[in-house]
């Protein structure tokens, strides 16, 4: 089956695989700055894949989408995050709540689940790159896992943004893009959200003297 695939499809699948790989890499990464770089790399791969889809299908809103991805996820957000890390003097180590090998094992399990769930669905699709749907789901889940297992607020944010990457992958590669207005809105939300988060970090640091989320466990019922 794979031999019959045209080049662009192979490319897209390749990019998708790279995104998944990067998601795993992020899950395994201990250092914050490197994590942000990996995130930027993931964004870049996403940009490439979107670009390929845009070129293939000729839908010009996908170009916009790709451009936005490049702008936001490869340049702006990593830059903001880098600045934050430096300004807030966050320690380089990311301390996971669960050790990394275990996390990786769970991650592999998640990928299997994601593929299994996506398989019957993607077979229904008429797009050739439908296989990426499973990868997108896996990326979303891995990002989710990262958010669960990391202690620092900033890694949670990276996980959150990485989840958006997974969603974008699904939106562009699996369905060849959502309607323009939707993508614009999503991008806007992500941007505003990131800015608000940035503001938040300063406030959190002011109040808690740290960005460790375990300081923020006071509101509870038990």
């Amino acid at each position: 089956m794979s031999t019959a695939l045209p080049l662009y499809a192979q490319l897209i699948n390749l990019f998708a695989a790279v995104i998944l790989l990067l998601a795993f890499a992020m899950l395994a990464q201990r250092r914050v700055l490197l994590l942000i770089d990996l995130f930027a790399l993931q964004g870049f791969t996403l940009f490439l894949s979107t670009l390929v889809v845009a070129v293939k299908t000729g839908q010009h809103h996908l170009y916009w989408s790709a451009g936005l991805t490049l702008l936001l996820k490869v340049l702006l957000l990593p830059w903001i995050l880098h600045r934050l890390v430096r300004k807030l003097q966050i320690k380089g180590e990311v301390e996971p709540l669960i050790n990394i090998p275990t996390t990786m094992l769970v991650g592999i399990g998640l990928v299997i689940i994601a593929f299994n769930v996506a398989l019957p669905i993607s077979q229904l699709s008429h797009t050739i790159t439908r296989g990426t749907l499973g990868i997108a789901l896996a990326v979303v889940m891995l990002a989710f896992l990262m958010m669960i297992t990391r202690k620092k607020a900033i890694t949670q944010v990276v996980g959150f943004l990485s989840m958006e990457n997974g969603l974008f992958l699904a939106a562009t590669s699996a369905t060849y893009g959502m309607p323009m207005v939707v993508e614009l809105g999503i991008a806007l939300d992500v941007l505003v959200g990131a800015i608000i988060l940035g503001v938040f970090f300063f406030q959190i640091r002011d109040q808690f003297d740290s960005l460790d989320i375990h300081h923020m466990e006071r509101l509870k019922d038990n």
Partner: protein
């Protein structure tokens, strides 16, 4: 002729922008109220138009107003108006107590208007993508509102709110993408594949497998915002730590809007999938939420937190009702949403004033409200009794329909309902009664509280418990029919 729809959306957007700039002026609070009043007026006129002329589109086909969402729009605009009236003196008192600065008040007002805008957009849009965008935007605006006090607790609450709802909303987006994925096969790669009006016509042709997966993601995603257990964890924190008007609109409106999103998706899922797949899921979530929230209630110390759990409980009940489906249950669900919005916001108004009077949110320190201010005391007491489903208040009317309907079609669920309602009653009433009754030393507030909204809401709830006007009935029935 002026398009009331455009007016309705424009007023909060423009006034939000204005307030961002001029929010520190003396007339700013009044502008907030006037803008909300204008929104409500426009919504009311729009309602009249929809009722007389039937559903309509706006901005091409991107917006669509039918009997289902016009009902939510009116409710949202109304509660938005009363909350803004309430928040006038409330926020002044907060400022007088030194809990808020003038710039924060500006932020509050502008975000409030923008929040109204996002909710009205979410309610009226025909595009499920835009619905998602508006929901996310509503989250963002309310995150700023929740963290308004900038205390450690409020920041923590806002952070949790942001992350949990952000993740939730992200799942909803995945669900939306899957929906698009399914719709695209039927409707083609036009931009219409996310338009609800198209989807609903083609719903029978959507692939059931994809729709099932999509609905799961949408339910978990938007369900996080509704506060379905076990996705509810952000809700009590956000309600307790934000300013009380924000708690009122969160409980009274935002939860409704999120549930509205689920309902729109449920219609599509029901069309695509044989059997009551979506309904069963919702019933399961609803019951679980109801039961869990009831037990949570009995352990609360903070009054706003407790009523936040009460909102969760009622959302569970409403979700259960919609899960049962059918004309009666949907009717009851819609009615309950209305009643819950009105009652819960009234309670939060009363609670807000009460906490200002006593200077604490801890229930064991609040005593004898009926002595400090009989109106606040009675407002809280009656509101609590109403929310607990005591007739002749309207909440009972909907609970009556839900319970008897459940007894009829899902008798296995009734022990759970009975248990949860009983536990919730014991928990809430046992805590509110000593707050209202008993002895205490009084304290005067710098600004007289706005009691009118409390009793206005309660009066409406009382009236609807005894008499639902026929046009309202028709409207509800029409909406219930749309939900299948």
């Amino acid at each position: 002729m002026l398009d009331m729809f455009v007016v309705m959306l424009a007023i909060p957007l423009v006034s939000g922008a204005l307030l961002t700039v001029f929010g520190e002026r003396a007339w700013a609070p009044n502008l907030n109220i006037i803008a909300s009043g204008g929104t409500f007026l426009a919504a009311a006129l729009l309602t009249v138009e929809i009722v007389t002329h039937g559903p309509r589109f706006a901005f091409g086909e991107q917006f669509f107003i039918d009997s289902l969402n016009i009902f939510f729009v009116t409710l949202t605009a109304f509660v938005g108006l009363t909350t803004s009236i309430f928040s006038g003196p409330y926020m002044k008192n907060e400022a007088a107590h030194g809990r808020l600065t003038i710039p924060r008040l500006r932020l509050y007002k502008s975000m409030y208007q923008l929040f109204m805008f996002t909710m009205l957009t979410a309610l009226t849009t025909n595009n499920l993508g835009i619905l998602w965008v508006a929901m996310e935007a509503a989250t963002l605006t309310t995150v700023l509102l929740v963290s308004l006090y900038r205390t450690p607790a409020s920041l923590e609450a806002a952070w949790k709110y942001f992350i949990l709802c952000g993740v939730g909303i992200a799942q909803a987006l995945f669900g939306t993408i899957l929906l698009y994925f399914a719709a695209e096969r039927v409707l083609g790669e036009t931009g219409n594949a996310l338009l609800w009006t198209y989807l609903v016509n083609a719903k029978a042709f959507l692939d059931p497998n994809i729709m099932a997966l999509s609905f799961i993601f949408l339910l978990v995603g938007y369900g996080t915002k509704v506060g379905l257990a076990p996705l509810h964890n952000w809700l009590p924190d956000a309600h307790a730590e934000g300013p009380t008007p924000v708690s009122a609109v969160l409980s009274g409106l935002l939860l409704n809007v999120a549930l509205y999103a689920i309902l729109r998706c449920k219609v599509l899922a029901d069309g695509a999938i044989d059997g009551n797949f979506a309904g069963n899921l919702m019933m399961g979530f609803g019951l679980f939420t109801l039961l869990l929230a009831a037990f949570f209630l009995s352990r609360q110390k903070d009054v706003k937190r407790m009523f936040a759990y009460s909102s969760i409980e009622h959302m569970g009940l409403i979700t259960f009702a919609f899960g049962m489906g059918g004309a009666v249950a949907n009717f009851a669900g819609l009615l309950h949403m209305t009643m819950h919005s009105l009652t819960k916001s009234a309670i939060f108004f009363a609670v807000g004033h009460a906490t200002q009077k006593t200077g604490t949110q801890m229930m064991e320190d609040i005593r004898g409200l009926i002595r400090i201010n009989p109106l606040i005391g009675w407002g809280l007491m009656l509101g609590t009794l109403a929310i607990l489903g005591m007739p002749p208040f309207g909440v009972f009317a909907s609970e009556f329909m839900i319970l008897t309907h459940a007894m009829k079609y899902h008798p296995w669920a009734t022990p759970v309902l009975l248990l949860a309602l009983g536990v919730a009653f014991a928990a809430i009433f046992g805590k509110v009664q000593p707050m209202v009754f008993g002895e205490t030393e009084a304290k005067r507030l710098p600004h007289a509280p706005a009691i009118t909204p409390v009793f206005l809401h309660l009066a409406i709830v009382l009236m609807l418990g005894l008499y639902i006007p026929p046009y309202l009935t028709r409207w509800f029935q029409e909406a219930a029919r749309m939900l299948g």
